[in-house]
Subunit: 420 residues, 2 copies
Amino acid sequence: MSNNTKVTIITIGDELLIGQVIDTNSAWMAQELNKLGMLVIKRIAVGDDWNSIWKALDNAATESNLILITGGLGPTADDITKPLLCKYFAGKLVVNEKVLIHITDIFERILKRPMIERNAKQAEVPDVCTVLHNSRGTAPGMLFEKEGKLFISMPGVPHEMKGIMTDVVLPMLPQKFAMAHVIHKTLLTEGIGESFLAERIKKWEEQLPAFIKLAYLPNYGLVRLRLTATGNDKQLLQKTIDTAFEKLSSQLTDVLVTTLDEPMESVVAKILKTKNKTLSTAESCTGGFIAHTITQHEGSSNYYKGSIISYANETKMQMLFVKENTLQQYGAVSEQTVIEMVQGVLQQINTDYAIAVSGIMGPGGGSIEKPIGTVWICAGNKKNYVTHQLKLRFHRKKNIEITCLQALNVLRKFLITEAD
Amino acid sequence: MSNNTKVTIITIGDELLIGQVIDTNSAWMAQELNKLGMLVIKRIAVGDDWNSIWKALDNAATESNLILITGGLGPTADDITKPLLCKYFAGKLVVNEKVLIHITDIFERILKRPMIERNAKQAEVPDVCTVLHNSRGTAPGMLFEKEGKLFISMPGVPHEMKGIMTDVVLPMLPQKFAMAHVIHKTLLTEGIGESFLAERIKKWEEQLPAFIKLAYLPNYGLVRLRLTATGNDKQLLQKTIDTAFEKLSSQLTDVLVTTLDEPMESVVAKILKTKNKTLSTAESCTGGFIAHTITQHEGSSNYYKGSIISYANETKMQMLFVKENTLQQYGAVSEQTVIEMVQGVLQQINTDYAIAVSGIMGPGGGSIEKPIGTVWICAGNKKNYVTHQLKLRFHRKKNIEITCLQALNVLRKFLITEAD
């Protein structure tokens, strides 16, 4: 790696060590640093414990030039990070007037409740730090420099950390560090296992130059391949990675979903937008997860009209016009039912295309003929449709996620293969 | 801490350092270890890099008795963990016949495709390790012992790691280590800020014995309080934490949601089940997230019948009988609209109670009268309802999550205050 800046991320908080909170901060920070060409070499999570935090700082300083710290800055007694940083960098706590005004303003204007001493104390910062403005909360960010290394402490609340990173830290970094360039290129495949894929592109992989790394990211029957080029000559990097990526894609046309770093639902969204067509969904076992997956993206209302979530048989009949006879003869989890669900929702919500799913997600509800993990998917329009059966063997949450991903993939294949 | 067993979790993989994957494994492992009374003192994430992994192992060994390692065991070239562990523990790679039979079986019986050499290589393990059976995949777990410390390496695929942990590792640990007891008790409050809560329970907190720790876990206007007692005398721990918890709860009755470690939707579910009543939802801006939040839990079909997700105005009119006049006069995001949505879905899906939400989640769609973050919530039955307005100031994803949580809370309050 020709990148000189090594980053360590330290996250602080007992909640991270007992598993009550999943750390999403580190991933976000790593992504943003990556865009600047900075590589995270290590992430450490420690508890609200003086010695552990101190030791983590010492260790990070020996390995990294930039140390990003989140958490432990709240107003309550279990947060010890600020006094610790104060001692670590040999400063003393003083009230920062600007921060105090900001906190007072948040309480008066936004929270509309009186400020108490505990909140005012958040305006105290070590006199040896540079304050980083937290536009989204009361706990300020703090920057320390020691022996050429930068230490930046931010609150653990994701929304606030992201604000400080975006407003202050990320714009500042290129002035502080010599940056190497990092370029990623990513493609997504479906219908081929990781090992088979590896076998298929073996020769291509052997010819990759040392400054380009390949990673396999398998997920539910889909495999994402990521190329990463790192170095100082940006033009050379771009040219080499483009050529390698082009060669790779051309070998995988039959299993290729996208050559962009985008999720399945965005691939489907693009096809629908290009065709200027609309979509609705009828969900049983996924219980709204497909609708949520689609609508989590801004602009989805341009092609997505809505969903009928039928968690009861009577809802399937009343709202989706599934025949009582169908439910009795084939059951709610059957090819026949999902076909009727697609036709029902197309009629009810009046869209060009629809997806329907019905299945048994577990842990209960399975039988010998239809064990847990049995799922039927249908995608189509008023004239044509395709169906697909899954036999999943995971837990409820994962079964729901895979069903959603596969249902979107079934629609994607229907859309790209149908005659216009 | 009177617990003698210190655990370090090491996660391996470049995807963790560039932020492409969010680490959920560590949280799950920490939770499970906690139930056994074992405390994780540190979590480290490193890339697929020989020196970094080696150093992380060295460091972990100086601080911990048990080192759990996940990731880096896949069949592709970017996975270097197995050869590294082999060298670290001075062994050599040999084919393990049992593992080979298991892998062959998975390919023949489940994947139904031919096995290639790359897969067979997964049956090679260091001769100095004990193989831990991976019932859910091809890469075996491996246990090493060195100077009284235990090192356990598992695949990074969450489903497979969980299988090995549950089947082999967790049952084995009590035989290998002297266990201290850890007891957690948790309660959830709403409508009171972290600082105010801290002020209110200050005296109570000061009287806590040293072996009980208090943590604040704020989340979207709700604050979870967690008490943790650690020690060897289980009876004493239980008695002391029960008394302290009782005192705490009795001080917070007006803001208390639950005294169990359960999410808001489970609190609502229990009330509905007790009353033997049913629920439906009508979602606009949350796009299925409320339905998903409810149906992610097994058994939700006992009280939850379904949802109409109306992402278009015409769907609100056709499916939820919102009057055209209402939409024109007040807009889709209005108190009037969510009231009509509740009545519409109650009629369509025929349930006792319903929730409706409509709002502007961003980043687009705001106006001066209705800025981004404006949300209307209604909860009620055919006779009565309550409405609630939110003014959120976050990003799309978080706005959706808070709206869901608050909508469930609005229903919860309606349910517990209504006359039966």
